[in-house]
Symmetry: D2
Subunit: 334 residues, 4 copies
């Protein structure tokens, strides 16, 4: 951490700050220039409150030079995190998974049909929403507990592990049979929930908030890991920009950036990031080529009558084609 000292700061005040830092176990190195004085803080600065420091009279600004996350940081954990599900499915490292299924669970028939179809086409996990975050209070809010029950039936019928979204920690007991708990973009900085997820004994799929930086995303993962749950899977789902041709802007480069700075697996949700069924194939191939550890794709047996997000869902037939092409690209980059 670097502290830029104001030009007009007195020697006395600078010394006082240096002394105080030493009491905190920090060694300050002071460089004096004509226009500027710099104090380099070397040592463990995680305990230093940057807001406090930045508000001091004599401080012009502060610059961090190391990342504020530790548990999620590849520097301190060079090995890839690999999450293993109960049925042996692995996520992370050299493994590649498809999480496919409908936006919302709508009926037993629907979820079992889609589950069977995507399994046949090579999917390792079934996705499906029971609790649905909707901008409008008047829109379909999901089947709730009944939706979870139907997902469990689909799991029993096909053997596919299930990933589904939790919107309120009070519903956690319903998620007993769920294999991966998904936390949606809008809850990425619901810090009270993140703290509780640190206590949960299940993998967490943490979606990126639609306007959160990669660093903020990793800080949210840090809440979960530092709370005791190491099985965090990141999920890029597009960010909000000025462009309106797509529902969100898929930040494809977040994939190699995450691999560089963190050991956590990263999945790309190619349906929400594009918002249009006819862009899903390109987004899938690109995400795979960029090195994603897997894809989350909305597949519906009847997209035109899906209860939500029908515009971005593909059919099982389209999924067959896309998954085959994805595996070809995957082979090409290995």
């Amino acid at each position: 951490m670097i502290v830029i000292i104001k030009r007009e700061a007195t020697e006395e005040k600078i010394s006082a700050l240096a002394e105080w830092l030493k009491t905190q176990g920090i060694k300050p190195d002071i460089s004096r220039g004509k226009d500027i004085t710099i104090m380099g803080l070397v040592g463990d600065v995680n305990g230093i409150d940057t807001d406090l420091l930045g508000a001091l009279d004599i401080v012009e600004s502060i610059k961090r030079i190391s990342e504020p996350y530790k548990a999620a940081n590849r520097k301190f954990h060079p090995e890839d995190t690999v999450v293993t599900l109960d049925n042996g499915t692995k996520i992370g490292g050299d493994n590649f998974v498809f999480m496919a299924g409908p936006c919302s669970v709508e009926s037993e028939e629907q979820i079992i049909e889609v589950a069977s179809r995507v399994k046949k086409a090579g999917a390792q996990l079934l996705r499906g929403g029971a609790f649905k975050p909707r901008t409008s209070p008047y829109a379909f809010q999901g089947m709730g507990a009944e939706g979870i029950r139907l997902l469990m039936e689909a799991k029993a019928a096909t053997g596919l592990p299930v990933v589904t979204e939790l919107m309120d920690i009070k519903d956690i007991d319903l998620f007993d049979g769920v294999d991966i708990i998904q936390i949606g973009a809008r809850n990425m900085q619901n810090f009270e929930m993140l703290k509780e997820l640190g206590q949960v004994k299940k993998p967490i799929l943490l979606k990126r908030g639609f306007s959160n930086t990669i660093q903020e995303w990793l800080m949210s993962a840090e809440y979960i890991i530092s709370g005791g749950n190491r099985d965090v899977i990141l999920c890029e789902r597009g960010i909000r920009t000025f462009e309106t041709a797509t529902r969100n802007t898929l930040d494809i480069t977040s994939v190699p950036v995450i691999h560089k700075v963190s050991h956590l697996p990263i999945i790309v949700d190619v349906s929400h990031s594009t918002g249009h069924a006819d862009l899903v194939e390109s987004a899938s191939l690109a995400s795979t080529a960029a090195g994603a550890n897997g894809l989350m794709i909305e597949v519906h047996n009847d997209p035109a009558h899906a209860k939500c997000d029908g515009q971005q869902s593909i059919t099982p037939d389209q999924f067959d084609i896309i998954s085959e092409k994805v595996m070809k690209v995957r082979s090409a980059i290995l």
Copy 2:
């Protein structure tokens, strides 16, 4: 609502859609052109699922022509909402309020001193954080229940009503003596919480999410109002943009936009939107001139040692000066 029909759609399919719409109580007017066919839906379209409609084979796109919010919409409620607190303080309409106080409650001495000072300078409410949303799990998370207790002491000592943030609905019982419950930017789309706030018998100060549109903000207010709680106060607190000179970008024009489309009061948080104490005065004067119903300002007796956000806090002495100037501008526009 307008449905744009694809050029290649058959007459049969268009008629089938029209028939189905009629069964939903909607009267579709069809305009046929050389390149395009348009279906205008007139009637109550709130029950129509736009995702479903948009996913149909023959539909190119859908355009809304009326706002999706009703309860928060000025068209249906032309009169300003005025929220009245227990001590008679009014927010909204022609009233103007200052909500001032420290970012975080830190001690009894601190909160009572700041409360007394801001009251003397004309503040109508005391703000202060007990539960603090922090990006980092390693940062100070607020005093919690003890912070609420200290706020109650400050209220008892000064008579100032209190506004403070609720981060988890499970803590609601602690908020008995609190006058306005603040919902932070990161929880603006925590829909499960919004539903529960609809049942609460207290005014809600709903901060705008830092990347949410004005329409999404009003849809979140709609969750609370349609749940039964009409006392919603909006709070603009800056949005996330590419500019880094300020912590956020104060979207000043949201103030007249809200007044145009909604009847709810709007307050501006001039501290978070700027992030720098030396910009607070200009932001306060601008927000007042733009027609805000009040200001939320961080005031700390010792900003350099504030436990969070010290950089953006002003001193009680600065608050004296700013509040006086604000009232001059307020007079100038009435």
Copy 3:
């Protein structure tokens, strides 16, 4: 085009507008509802001034339903545009090209060495900046005319066609031997220049402005094509967002969007869009998988001493590896 009429509009005013539209060759279809009246304009609406229409008393808003570009629109030109250079190199359709070379031309030795190396690794074009747009007036501004001369030497030595940036139309005569004129992001909406480029008899590589929508980008292409020059190649180079981990955010989905709505070729500049040499490989593979018609990559024989953008340049050895992997991904998707 759809005109939403205000609720309070009189029949008289609506009729007057309808009459006037008819004189413009437009057939207006009027749909009247309880809350809203819609006028659908069918016919050739390109001559209609939407600003004028939108400002009328009785008009609430206007919604376009067809794209404002014609010449660049795939609807009217379903076949891919393929640009053919003097030496027979083709860009667009099923062809794939690498445009590689240094950010700036620095010396005869440098440009010839890099040109030879990238040619050997399979590049079809040499890129290199002679005129450099720089944020700071104090930064290196490029070698100018002398840089163009050196590019011509490298072209003579290797046979590689050359693409280089034009910043001011007054320099056009220097570009006689240049094969493709590059227009930078900052000049994408320099409309006076675009008009003049319509007269030029050379292919134009039109970079996307860093905050321009895909539609604005195509409108700028429209300026050039409607001026008489059909050889426009689009180049995605990243957009400006809130994320700071990368120099820009590569909008990967712009590739399939462009292929859907336009017939023009699209290239991805993987160096500017990422800004870091160690992200170039992933971005290259992703862009290829997404269906780009080629890549623009900064390659420097000594990135650590490059006069500009050294951080994002790769070495010729790295280019060898990346181009090989790219061709594998290219094969996988064909």
Copy 4:
């Protein structure tokens, strides 16, 4: 400037870098920590190429600690720049001006009528576009030279100095009688043009690019000032964000930020930044309260038939009211 050295850098390489910096007149201070080594560069670092430095093997990153602009920097020129026009009108410092008039010059009658009306209501300058930047090649492009001639007639008739946009430096001779040359948002980083404007002997109104940071804006001003023309007036006109309720997002805080870091005057274009006539009043009052040195407002005698931007133009009658209110707010803050 601070150079962060990679952990794995050898002593030898660090020393070599330090030696080289000394030859450039820079004194490097080295602070060594457990995890990190920092090199503080004190001295005149403007000659140092940060791209070059950042690309070195041993360098992790570079952080600037002083602004890259000098001529536009208040630190080096504490006094406000005041631009004086031929008729004595002053812009900057304690002066306040209205620049009012139509988006486009359309006819002699129109421009003279509007000029007379806004003069009577207190405007000090007439604005009006002769050369119009338009996204679409099919939209009205302005009257060009004839428009300038009509502006000169309006100036002769009313005595109002004129501000109008220059889109191409080749037209500069037409601007002889123009008092302030406006450079539009899309040309803010047309560096070749900026260089030429440094030679011009007229004040330049430099609009902020719609996605440019305040620092980039000041760097563009720096091009003009360092070229020899000190009379630069900045004009905030809204930035591009995700919000669609307004045409752009007025970055109101740019006003106090500019006053803090620069000595140049700053004007706010309240018409383009909002895009709606009914938001112009609030934006005008807010900008004035924020400390702007003046306002640019589109006023049209018949907005419903304005050839461009009719939606955001106000009438002369509305201007009367707004200008009066603005002056009241102006008085309140002095």
